[in-house]
């Protein structure tokens, strides 16, 4: 019984939030890693692309709600996700056309691309604040919980319990589906294979008749789509606030690099590693240990490794350790 109580506590405060946050990071890191693999630069504007996608989705959700459209128990925003993806893809197309295409023609160094992407990031951030404003928006209108803590406790009779939010279930399921589709696409379809070929060796790919413009555009569309998914799912689960996407850039890049940058499986694993370790390291284990240990050994302190203030430092620490011990990341990506 005590063991189950401890397990419920950990599920409620670490596993469920960790896997949800990890899924959101994984989707973000997938976009970063794809851009890095195919277009060969670190896209710092990716956080703002997530924000842009989520913003479009919110605007259409409001429009839809004003016409009385609703998705029942699920959030209305899911209906408008495809439209938001379309808009974000078009936006990506424009920044490729007006910013990055020029440097690609000039065959600039990756560092130039990176700096240009920082410019795009600030431009996009400004555009978003201009359109929707800097304040936070809550657009999750579905049923909040599949079951909450109180219901769980009443059902199982345990002292501790965990609740499952609708948004958590949606996030984890969507991530599993999206990742599977993406891997099938990259490994089995002709277009996916041409993207991988382009990523492996650009010159050889050109010689074998792959249209580089098509590959570049496709990469942007996929990255934009993933960014929109990540932004909307994050906003549904937590809150949409334009400021936080700059803060999310660090864990997203850590996830991509820890997993092995340029490697899609690495990005997903990296996302979960970063998210779960942030929570495992900053969690206070007092109650958990009280359940697991005999009464005489019950801890008096909070049993917390690091204060929650240092949550973001955890992704830094992991990043540094990985770069020292295994610079290519867990799944052997490209070295930077």
């Amino acid at each position: 019984m005590d063991f189950l109580n401890a397990l419920a506590l950990i599920t409620n405060y670490i596993l469920l939030p960790g896997f949800t946050y990890g899924s959101q990071l994984a989707l973000g890191a997938l976009g970063v890693t794809l851009i890095y693999a195919v277009l060969r630069f670190s896209n710092f504007a990716h956080g703002e692309l997530m924000s842009f996608g989520a913003m479009i989705c919110i605007l259409f959700t409001w429009l839809g709600q004003s016409y009385g459209i609703s998705f029942g128990v699920l959030p209305t925003a899911l209906i408008f996700l495809p439209i938001a993806i379309g808009f974000t893809a078009i936006y990506c197309f424009f920044i490729e056309k007006f910013v990055f295409a020029y440097y690609r023609r000039k065959k600039s160094d990756p560092i130039i691309f990176l700096i240009a992407s920082i410019g795009v990031m600030f431009f996009t951030a400004g555009l978003i604040r201009f359109i929707i404003g800097p304040s936070d928006q809550n657009f999750n209108d579905g049923v909040r919980f599949i079951f909450n803590v109180r219901e769980f406790k009443a059902f199982t009779g345990l002292d501790e319990g965990f609740g499952l939010k609708t948004s958590q279930a949606i996030t984890i399921l969507t991530t599993i589906i999206l990742c599977s589709v993406l891997f099938v696409f990259l490994n089995k379809t002709r277009t996916g294979k041409s993207m991988r070929a382009f990523s492996d060796n650009e010159d050889l790919a050109l010689l074998s008749g792959i249209d580089p413009n098509k590959v570049v555009l496709l990469t942007w569309v996929i990255a934009g789509g993933l960014a929109t998914f990540a932004g909307v799912l994050y906003g549904l689960d937590k809150i949409y606030k334009p400021f936080i996407f700059l803060q999310m850039l660090l864990p997203i890049f850590s996830a991509a690099i820890v997993g092995g940058v340029g490697n899609p499986i690495g990005a997903v694993v990296g996302g979960y590693v970063i998210a779960l370790s942030e929570l495992f390291v900053t969690f206070a284990y007092r109650k958990v240990l009280a359940y697991l240990l005999p009464e005489s050994m019950e801890p008096a302190g909070m049993m917390q490794f690091l204060s929650t203030d240092y949550k973001f430092a955890v992704s830094f620490i992991i990043l540094v350790i990985v770069l020292i011990v295994r610079p290519t990341g867990i799944f052997r990506g490209k070295t930077i």
Binding site: N12, F243, T282
Partner: protein, 391 residues
Amino acid sequence: MKKIFATLLALCLLNTASFSDVKLGIILGFTGPIESLTPDMAAGAELAIDEVNKAGNFSMGKVSGVRADSTCIDSSAATAAAERLITSDKVNGIMGADCSGVTTAILQQVAMANGVVMISPSATSPALSTVEDNNLFFRTAPSDARQGQVVADILKEKGLKKVAISYVNNDYGKGLAASIEENHKAAGGTVTISAPHEDDKGDYSAEVGALAQAGGDILIVAGYLNSGGKGIIQASLDSGAFDLFFLPDGMIGESLPKDIGSGLNGSIGTVPGTDSPGAAKFGDMATAAGFKSGPFAMESYDAAALMLLAMEAAKSSDSQAYKGKIMDIANAPGEKIFPGDLKKALKLISEGKDVDYVGASAVELIGGGESAGNYAQIEVKSGVNETVAYR
């Protein structure tokens, strides 16, 4: 182009150079994090000035207010604005500033150097109670040390012994959390954890995880209702960590119960407020004048009125002369003065009689010249903040 510019400049100069005999500087954060509150506060102070002008029996002639921007957070901008008020507008007293940080900066660098009286309507930091001020600084707002006491009293009455505190990581949050903790412990309660949170984050589940492990009967959220404070409450409800919350003044507003929903019902809070007849009267006067009696508007009216009445009592608009009169005017004995009674007050003072300025916010200055503090006890009932008692 040059001509237009010159004309505009001349117009600006004409506007600022008014021909009043007494000038009050109104320095508030018209831009910055409390910009939504300051227009009503300034209107409150200007209402008192208008009333004195209309009364016509102020012995030093006409009064005018000069607005300046304190920005609430940028001390150098605020001191520059205050410097301008004193050296170029030659104000006889300053109604302001608003936020504790800039108020301290203006007091130490400008008001004390030039010997000008300052009455702040809204700076609540406990540090301002003990700051060196040459008796020039007063406030019609209570110190947060007082709010800590009120919070501890309410907790004791409700029988909530074990409490957890989550505070926003700045001067306001830290000061308030420390004051609550001290008073609650003195009253025999225990504080299981007092941990900071940062504003403007997307996710507060880790913070709430730590709070939940410490446990407690109620979570005191000393933060801001539109930012981190709301995030902490939402995450606590989601994870079932706490279902009862204490909301100090930074968390009281119509938007919070609306955003959180039914989970907030039953939570309690405190916000400066009074059931004195002055408050209702001021509300009517504000509506008639075309503004809302929002947070700290009453305190602003009182600050301006106190300053003008003290000048009348000293028969001088010189800060050194009237600074000693402010406490006499604000406190008993004497005839009670409510908003709208300024004409009567001026008459009584000129006849040499005592007045006890009660004003809109039931002013009672204690210690070095700060409001004793009146708080409304709030309870959230079916999605609405309801005042259940006054303390």
